[in-house]
Symmetry: C2
Subunit: 470 residues, 2 copies
């Protein structure tokens, strides 16, 4: 179906991006572009060639070339994805945006940042905080991931309870389409209903509908105060049952409500060589509040603290300074990385259920874990109902047994329960390569057909990131 | 291209929705379905038949029938639209959702309302307010418009500065596609990246990509306090220059920053028989703040009040009770209606520019107004840069002269200036029928081609709301 990349095609690519921005015939240098952060090695695939363009015009030329020769193109951000979205499963060209890493503009009058896709997400807040500005995007890989990847995956993260996911902040995109057209969508205007909303069709399209070359991000005034509550519970059930109550009974929408079971936080603490007095705790909630009124925050954490203590919490710790807050959040952010170190044979899942269904979901997880004798530690964004349940290989299974159980029994069963509860199979990591075979469990045939029709309409040769999503 | 509705087809429609839900051969009853709230009579067009289905299944059957016979279908909400979106410009079937007017569920645990498309927007807040819940959508026609129409147009309104537009609150849609498939998109989950974001492709598609039959709306805890500031200025310039400063210098994101020039508020006051001490005022800002902390709101309105007084405001009135607030907002909400009464020959525009460009935009408006000797009163959502500039026929022109100036000179020039300032031709009213000929001024050919490809993919017979958007 696709053609191979020939030395002649590589010459044409060199002509477009320059010799130093092409990696070819160099296994070691290309290996890094063969995988993302998905643990399972079988998802990796080597590219034929890696190119590192510097502009929309160069990317447009690459796409036109790829169409001419029918070569697949896989766009790549930082490679911190968790669904294999940046893996060139059909070989061909990996198009890395790593050179496009400039913050082009901070427009204080319009509260807008204009950035290239290869900017590390954290950098935006580092640059704007002294101006009292704030970007709400906060994926757990914030120190390494690229904004372009955040947009491609519609990344969620730790502040979505209050601030929503990445898409909410994207007001404009320069996009190169699969056929090499350069589109300029939206901009610095706060509202726009001129034609269909192509911006939010592109957001979350996992690099299958376009490559972003310029991103307009809405900023906000930086909240003046922040406080984190670390709440310890003896078990998962007690912790998880508090989550919907904070919002419904407490009438408070915190910035974050993160959940960690004991396996998760202990693994992360071990990895970070961090000590927190948690010996008797079986689960933790990390609740962040922000706002401009210190008094209001105090009122809110009183309400939440009391709610937790009245409902079985062991202890509520308050972190109201940046150092302690960062220490706690570091534990939360490093769970995935820690798990990968200690249990490389695992499947980091990303299911989401309505908030009220989290307790029922946790019950299902426990049953599935027992049924297959597979530990399934859980952590994640409880305030969104987005739980990173992570089945981990029991050493008693051979690798073959494990993969058979995981792919043919455990995951289908887990997904089925999630869907029965009104949830879906991915909340923020995406479908990519990893969950593609399961997408038809979550979506009706007619929905998938509409998505296919859109993909066909934009990418008639099916060359942009094939093997992903649909 | 299309076929006419025959008595035989009407019989088939009666079979689907029942005799009492079909209007045919009754000019008087059908006339109401021939127009929306666009003032210009030339945009109206009579349907061949009106049907009032009660379910997704009935709508699916109607769409299949329409495809079979190649009859255009124009979906219709309350008919309160301002771009001719609900006008059956090609005749055929008008599909009114007026019978589908039930609030199906208020799910307090998940902070979610599930409603049919024919629910009047205001009704949602009326039903939920006693539970301390709140839906942020607030189009100025909130007392008459339907939620279905709000979703179709991605309605903005008076609270978008802080709360964003309709789309932000839409988490699920049941949609009948142009070919009659029933899709169930999203639901009560807070995050979902399983496949492309079809929900936000549907939102704002102006009834050209699907008909909504069930809408999942995110609710929030009702803010405990609210205060409105009515700020009088001697002229437009002084008022408008404050707008970006409130957010950048004041670091405050109010719920609303509405702008009215003297012509606008005086016309509305006259229409409502309302008196406000404004004789010397040339412009007004209506600024709303909400939150849970009364103390914080007081602090904020002090900051804003001082900022306004230091920058040339005549007077700042504080409305901190519901009655006074509603009195002020009623003036704002009724401007469009008042204008229609006093100056039926006018064109209610909906342009949007980056907030920092509003002063420059107002200058351009004044120049265009002088150049063509056409009054252009302005009001609207200044906090979003969304200004309803409204050219009104100067009595010295014949109707023919007026329409020539408006369509061939004034509007193209106004739009050109807006686009040069980084804005676009519609912020919340939509393209519809009214602005279709101008869309190519705002969008690149490649963008329009992508939109066309999507339309073709979903509606191969081009029967759903033809003549709109693209």
């Amino acid at each position: 179906m696709y053609n191979k990349v020939t030395p002649e095609i590589v010459d044409e690519l060199i002509e477009i991006v320059g010799n130093k921005n092409v990696i070819y015939n160099n296994f070691d240098a290309m290996e890094a572009y063969s995988h993302d952060e998905v643990a399972e090695k079988s998802y990796a695939h080597m590219p034929d060639v890696v190119v590192k363009p510097s502009s929309a015009e160069e990317i447009s030329k690459i796409m036109k070339l790829a169409n001419k020769y029918k070569i697949p193109v896989t766009p790549r951000g930082a490679g911190s994805g968790l669904s294999g979205g940046a893996v060139p499963v059909e070989g061909g060209i990996v198009l890395s945006v790593e050179k496009m890493n400039k913050i082009l503009e901070i427009d204080k009058d319009n509260l807008m940042a204009v950035v290239e896709p290869g900017v590390v997400t954290n950098e935006i807040n580092n640059v704007i905080k002294d101006d009292g500005l704030f970007y709400a995007g906060y994926p757990m890989s914030v120190e390494t991931c690229y904004v372009g990847g955040n947009v491609a995956e519609n990344a969620g993260g730790g502040r979505a309870v209050k601030y929503g996911v990445t898409g909410r902040y994207i007001y404009g995109l320069e996009v190169v389409t699969p056929t090499g057209e350069i589109l300029h969508l939206g901009g610095k205007r706060m509202k726009d209903v001129t034609g269909y909303d192509l911006i939010h069709l592109m957001v979350g399209s996992e690099g299958t509908l376009g490559i972003f070359t310029k991103i307009y991000i809405k900023l906000m005034p930086l909240p003046q105060s922040k406080v984190d509550l670390l709440v310890l519970f003896k078990d998962i059930d007690t912790a998880i049952k508090i989550v919907p109550k904070i919002m419904t009974f407490g009438r408070i929408i915190p910035t974050s409500i993160e959940f960690m079971d004991d396996l998760s936080f202990k693994t992360s603490c071990k990895y970070l060589n961090e000590k927190i007095p948690f010996e008797e705790a079986g689960a933790m909630l990390l609740i962040e509040l922000d706002g401009n009124s210190k008094a209001e925050l105090e009122e809110q954490y009183e309400v939440i603290g009391n709610l937790c203590m009245e409902n079985g919490a062991i202890e509520v710790y308050i972190a109201d300074n940046a150092t302690t807050s960062e220490r706690i959040w570091k534990i939360r952010r490093n769970i995935a990385e820690a798990w990968k170190q200690y249990s490389p044979d695992q499947s980091l899942e990303d299911v989401v259920v309505p908030i009220s269904e989290i307790p029922k979901f946790m019950e299902k997880v426990r049953k599935i874990s027992e049924k297959y004798d597979v530990p399934i530690p859980c952590y994640g964004h409880a305030g969104d109902g987005n739980i990173h349940a992570t089945p981990v290989k029991n050493p008693k299974f051979t690798m073959e047994e494990w993969l058979d159980i995981l792919h043919h029994k455990l995951l289908p069963e887990l997904y089925k329960e999630v869907i029965n509860l009104g949830g879906t199979i991915s909340g923020e990591h995406g479908i990519g390569h990893k969950r593609r075979e399961f997408m038809s469990m979550a979506l009706e045939p007619a929905q998938i057909e509409v998505m296919r029709a859109i993909k066909r309409a934009l990418d008639p040769n099916y060359i942009l990131n094939p093997g992903k999503v649909i």
